[in-house]
Structures are given as C-alpha cells and as structure tokens.
Subunit: 387 residues, 2 copies
Amino acid sequence: MTTPFSFTLAATDGGARLGRVETPHGGVETPAFMPVGTQGSVKAMLHRDVEAAGAEIVLGNTYHLFLRPGDELIQRRGGLHRFIGWERPMLTDSGGFQIFSLAERRVIREEGAEFQSHLDGSTHVLTPERAVDIQSRLGADIAMVLDECLAYPATRDAAAASMQRSARWAQRCRDRFMATHNAALTGVVPSTPGQAQFGIVQGGVFQDLRDESVAALTGIGFEGYAIGGLSVGEPSEVMYAIAGETARQLPVDQPRYLMGAGTPADLVECVARGIDMFDCVMPTRNARNGQLFTSQGRINIRNARYAEDDRPLDPACGCGTCARHSRAYLRHLYMAGEMSAATLNTVHNLSYYLDTMRRIRDAIALRTFDTFRQGFLRSASRLALDS
Amino acid sequence: MTTPFSFTLAATDGGARLGRVETPHGGVETPAFMPVGTQGSVKAMLHRDVEAAGAEIVLGNTYHLFLRPGDELIQRRGGLHRFIGWERPMLTDSGGFQIFSLAERRVIREEGAEFQSHLDGSTHVLTPERAVDIQSRLGADIAMVLDECLAYPATRDAAAASMQRSARWAQRCRDRFMATHNAALTGVVPSTPGQAQFGIVQGGVFQDLRDESVAALTGIGFEGYAIGGLSVGEPSEVMYAIAGETARQLPVDQPRYLMGAGTPADLVECVARGIDMFDCVMPTRNARNGQLFTSQGRINIRNARYAEDDRPLDPACGCGTCARHSRAYLRHLYMAGEMSAATLNTVHNLSYYLDTMRRIRDAIALRTFDTFRQGFLRSASRLALDS
C-alpha cells in the first residue's frame, strides 16, 4: 500500500519526542492536541477560530456522524473534509467508545456491537468491518480500529478477555482496511485515498495485558498506535505509568496517541513518557461550563469575585478573548446565558491547550523539556484560583 | 451644550437620503442598520464578526443591562463601550418597549413605569429621569427618551392620550439630560461626554397625532428623532405611509430613526421615504431559527431539500459562511443542535442586511436609488424559496 501518511521523529529530549505526521491533508507537528469536533464542528467554534488557535488536526466522532447526517451522505458530499469545509488533517474514532457509553442500550458480541441510537432508538450493528467502511466513507486522514472499551475498574480476567477480543477485532479491521484500500475488494470507495489506520492498545491497568496487546497489534501492523482505555477514572499516577510503559514498547518510528486525555498537566506528563498525540473534550466542554484554564490557575468565571474584574482571563495569553475582553464581561455573558460566552471561553481554553503544546514542542527542540515540565507543574496551572 | 454629535446630509435621491452621523466613538454612514446587542452582545456573534459584516453601530437594551449586570456596575467598568469591548458607536433604547412588553407585570403612571423584573420578580420604577440617568451611566453615543409604547390596534383616544404622555415624558427626559450633560446638576456623571439624545414620535396610525407629536418634540429639540410605535403588527402599507409622512415633517438636517423595522423590503421602502437609521432583531433572531435571507429569496435551512445541497446559501454573498460552507453542512449543524449553526447563520443574515444597506447607500450616491429599489422589490428577496 502506498500512502502519503508518514511520521518523522525530529528530536527527543528524555522520553519526550518532537515529530511530524504527514497526511493527505497536510502535516501535524507533534506532540499535538486534537480538538474534538464531535458532529463535524468543534462545539461553539467556527473553523477559522480553531485554526487561529493553532489546531492542525481535529477529531470527528464516527458514532455521531454515522447516525446524523450519515456516512453515505457525507461521502456523496465528497467526504468529511469537504462536507464540513475543513481542509486540514482529521482523525475519526471508531464509534466504539460512544457505543460503550450507551450502557444498557448496547450488546457487545464477538461479531460486533449492537446498539440503539440515542436519537431515535433505532437499532444498528457496528462490526469491525463496518467501522472501517464507515470511516472509509467519512475519509478522515486517520481512522481508528473498533475496540471494546472496558469499564474502570475491571478485574484482570475481564480486562484480558476484552483486550483479546479487541486484538481479534483489530485484525478484522486491518483486513478490511487493506481490502478496501489496496484493491477496492469491498465495494467501498474511500473518500480519502491514503487514509491511515491506527491500532488501539487495550488491557486496562494491567501492564502484562498491555504488553500482550502491543505484541498483537504490532504483529498486525498499523500506521500508528493509540493507547485506549485510560483517562477513564483511574488515578493519574496509574495512567502515567501505564501510558509510559506502553509507549516505551511501541515502535519508535510511528506515532503514539493517548486517547481521551487530559488535563494540561496530563499532557505534559504523558509527553514526558513518549506520547505524540492527544484528544480531549476538556478544554471545550469546560469552557462551556465556565471553567477556564490560565497560566495562573483555573478560573470558574461564574464566581462573583469576577463581576468587577477588569483584567483579561490570562494576561499571558494572546487569544482574541484575552486581547479584547475582561473577566467582568465574560462573567456577565455567562450569567446572562449568551452563546458568545461559550464561544469566547472556548477560544481561550483551546488557545491555552494549543499554546501549551507549542511550548512543549519548543522545549523539546531546545532540549529544555524537563525544565519546562518542572516549571509547568510547579506553577499554579493545576490549581483553582477561586475555589 | 457642545457635543461631538452631528449629522451631515451628503446627497438625496427622491426621498432617500445619504448622510453621516458623527458620534464620540466615530462615524456612521446612513442609511444605517443597527444590529441588536441586547445584553451587550449581538446574539451568537463575536464583536469581530459584527464589525466584519459591516456594522458601524450596535444597539444595547437598557432594560436588560439595567437589570443585569446593572448600569452602576457598567459605569464603574468605564461605561458600556469599555465594558463590552466595542469601541464603535452605540445606541441604547430607553427600556420602555421591553417594560411595555411585560404586560401584566407592569403599571404605567404619569410619574413613570413600575415593573417586575423578568429575572427575579423584583419591583423597579423607571421614570423619564431615571431612564436618562441609566443611559448616562451606560454611556452609549445616542440615548433615547422614555416613551409610552402603545398596543396595536388602539383607538384614536388611547393613541392621543399615550402620545401626549410620551411628549410630556420627552420634555422631562430632555430637562434631565440637559441638567446632567450641561452642569452635572443631577449627581450623575455621564460615562460618555457628548452623548446625544433622540426624541421619539408617537401617535399610532393616526397621522394628525403623529403631526402633533412631531411639533411637540421638535419644539423641545433633540439631536435626532425616532419614529416609534410602528412595526408592531400594522400592515406594511400603513407603516410605510406613516413613516413617510412623519419623516417628511422632521427637520431635514437631523437623523431620522425608524425603531424596530424590519424586513429587507421594509428597509428599502422606508429609505425611499426619508428614514436614515433602522434596528431590528429579525436578521439575528431569524438566523437562530434557521430562517435565512438571500438575494434569491428566503431559505428555511431545516428544509429536507437542503440535506444534499452543496451550494452556498447565497452565491452572491461574500460572507465567511457563504465563502466556506454549503447549505448541506449548515442544515446538518442546525439539525444536530450545534451552536455554530446559530453563529454561521447570523454571520450570513447580518451580512445580508448590512450589504443591502451598502447597496442602498451606493445607489443614492449614484442617484440610481429608484432603479435599485424597483429591482430589489421585483427580485425574489421577499419570497420563500422553499415554502
């Protein structure tokens, strides 16, 4: 298979890696944070502002796009990039995590997952093959295998069985992907030639299961590897340890993506352990709830102490929100229920996350990452200013 | 009183007038449309995009800002411009229309209006003097007198009594305004030195009452004159006739503002009758409901016919929404309940309104306004494309 997808490792500093992912829609400097654009739009944002904040890649959710407006409609529109008007790289998840989250509205079998739509209750089956086909039609630059997502906490037996099923599903996903992308044997015409596919390491908090999963997935062979099933409620130290030890075993010349993490401190800590890519709803969801990240600590903009605070959210921030507006105005908009509160807050939080990634990359390039990391963690960044 | 407020009439073409209003925060080319920024934010928009659409002035609602966050807080923040971060001209209404709309939650007496807050039920009294003081603290470039707003339809007797009370209130508003702005006799320090004050002509659909109102208000003397109590349910032809005949009697060298109108056709028709300024929630509210204005007619973006329509909303439009997105994507965002649907739709509708005003001004400058008007009204602009 020829693919424009590639990963170049440019530098390392301790465990931290500086690199670049190339995709059919352009490059992504790593370590990278991917804002979540669930339904083809990063919530409360225009694409232009996502770009201005520095995002080089966004994530779309296959579960949501499959149900509405549908992968076939999106393919008829020319694929996801063209449909939503975003010409930079994109990644789609497999839909597995959302289906897992449906709880009693889904049944997982060896063949695949049967679930009822949260929109209208209609029943659907998502097999590994179908997850590949849907993502081929969507045409993101990076597709993910369908994995079984495990609840936390889980017994070792449950984690082992789930990891093994995920490995079998990964093989089925890869087979389908190769059939589609090499020779159009499946009747599915990919919207984006050169799409890459990442495997997902599972195994819960049991490192030996993680090791087994890595061996199975690298045996199959993917363009990149994700670490799934973390950032689901386990202590940070456990997440860091599992992510770090798992990353250490993954191929050095391929990108490593930690799914669903995390806080700004999580990003710094996991970059230190060799992670290249992240996604999380935290900056966008927290923004809509008035929870803002600043270089001096977290701010809950609803707090009455900001009612007459003429300062910007973060004097160290260059985003459009901080350049133009005061905490007092942002609090007013939030309390008044104005949509622009969500937009202005999201512009800021995404800028904070993406600025943090830029500073991480700069520090790795200068081989000062450990100094940066110590300073970042010592700073008040993780603390609430107003609690 | 010295004031930086002025109006220059640059050209006329039939009844249509081309002019320029100067205010302490800059100039406004007229005929002008003022987007409504009720609570200090044009709904679903960032200021930057309101500016980019071509708005030179926005309107704030005194009733809402008085209740939350309060005129005194806004004054402590340096006035409304500084509080919200909008440095261009602004106009505030008096709060009368919102209080009138509270129906059973308000009592109107000669002294003023007593009402209960829609937020918490607390009781407040808005007198003409207080409406002036609140607007002095807010510090918009143009303040409006408190008037009594009449329901439509109304008897001639009711319209006469209401118009006469509004005239008495206008005198009290002017007295208070002069006391505050000339000599700080009132203890209120205006946030914006050089604020202007407009009177409001009332009289319902009875032209002789309108004439009487014009005589009373011009006898008092204001920096400009608004026509209130129209666009409240009367037939378009009645609105056009009253607005036109009333405008004809107003001073030629001062701006004329038709409050609360209207559709794009209303703007063109009332410019033809000598109106210089407009405000209306229609472009912004309709956008949030999926109702979009285009050069080819109105579009209800919820309509299933747009599900696979790859065209922009309006091929003749240069706004950011039309430059980047298809009807199919806008329909998807609307159906999916994404906030960005409201933002993208509002960017378009405001651009359509403000482009229409630009075309109107260009036509007057070229003395081709009547040709423009006929073409505009003949076009499908007023018709729904999809009903």
